[in-house]
Symmetry: C2
Subunit: 223 residues, 2 copies
């Protein structure tokens, strides 16, 4: 996100940034509280969850390095819409919200960098809404697996699921029994699983079933 | 969105802006095409749809005056993620994407205004993802009705649905038969309908069932 900023501005950002090392299960921010920090994940995994008034919880995203989270809450000075909790040991940059907003007002290059990041975040959420409305759980799982091997040449690939199946089910917006049925459905399309190890034996057939988007944006840029 | 900009900048925006009057059913932009214009709806209604590779379509949002759409695509110079089609006669401001991006790079006040708008758009999409995952269709319908009467004092209210039930079903992410069942479910909570006319006889009961968010942002600001 900050890669195109000049050295002076990076130094000013660096001056307000703290690095924290966190154990698994650490709550970084809580839905409903006023935004205090922009977080940038350098190592580890962080689950971003939405919580309904009745306490039901769903994982909206699992942040992977390097990516930011709760940017919109920080920029609008509004309460967090998500809770963030580390899944694994993690290393996180934290930028205080008031300092970041002040720099954004005086540094046009920073405002433009954040505007690009915000637009990409928005497009990722639009895709999720579209997927939840137009794809079955099995298709969403298929798209997810295909995204993990996006670079694979040929028609087969092997991969490891990056987190456990409870978290994966929540991330895909389904219950664990639906996830098991989705994996069973995908066996017809050449998807074989042994624990976290997954083999795709027929990528073309999986694509024809899961119908991944052709409009994938560039990945969120580093930092 | 532009209300806090100074007169000079507004004049420069005005110089690249065209106003169009459009009939119902007019396609303003098509998913997958490179972003050409930022649209600002002044009068009328515009349905924003996502389309799956198999042609299935869902209405992600129905824009009401005054609001903008396809801002993220314009800012990132990427293809539209949605198609936009007028529902009723509409009046729309159109700002060419290259001109708007050029002004954004040279005018920090404009970049900041767009950054705020983009952050609010993102938060609206996060809410939709949370609703699709954590609320039933009947609860989503209840929240939608409650939002239409957000200002009502007391425990009862009357309102008119702003568009037909086919569009409402699609907007809520359900089929028309599910919408009919959702209205039937809500009768228990004092919701009575006659065509587009809706009476809420027990707002407290409807709130207790539908569990609307307490974290509603300020509405998208004008323009």
């Amino acid at each position: 996100m900050f890669e195109r900023l000049d050295a002076t501005l990076l130094t000013r950002l660096d001056a307000i940034t703290a690095v924290t090392h966190l154990p698994p299960g650490h709550l970084l921010c809580r839905q409903g509280e006023q935004a205090a920090h922009l977080h940038i994940l350098l190592d580890g995994q962080v689950a971003l969850s939405g919580i309904a008034p009745d306490g039901a919880e769903t994982v909206l995203e699992v942040a992977q390095p390097v990516s930011h989270f709760v940017l919109a809450a920080v920029l609008t000075d509004m309460p967090y819409l998500m809770s963030a909790r580390t899944v694994t040991r993690s290393r996180v940059l934290m930028l205080p919200a008031p300092g970041l907003r002040a720099l954004t007002r005086t540094e046009p290059a920073l405002a433009l960098a954040l505007l690009g990041a915000m637009a990409r975040d928005y497009r990722a959420m639009v895709r999720q809404v579209r997927d939840l409305r137009l794809r079955t759980a099995a298709q969403r799982l298929g798209c997810y697996l295909l995204a993990l091997v996006a670079e694979a040449p040929g028609n087969t690939a092997r991969l490891r699921l990056p987190f456990d199946k409870a978290l994966l089910a929540s991330r895909l917006g389904c219950r664990q029994d639906s996830l098991s049925r989705a994996f069973a459905t995908l066996r017809e399309y050449g998807v074989e699983t042994h624990g976290a190890a997954v083999a795709l034996h027929n990528i073309a057939a999986l694509q024809a079933f899961a119908l991944p988007d052709e409009l994938a944006d560039l990945p969120t840029d580093p930092g």
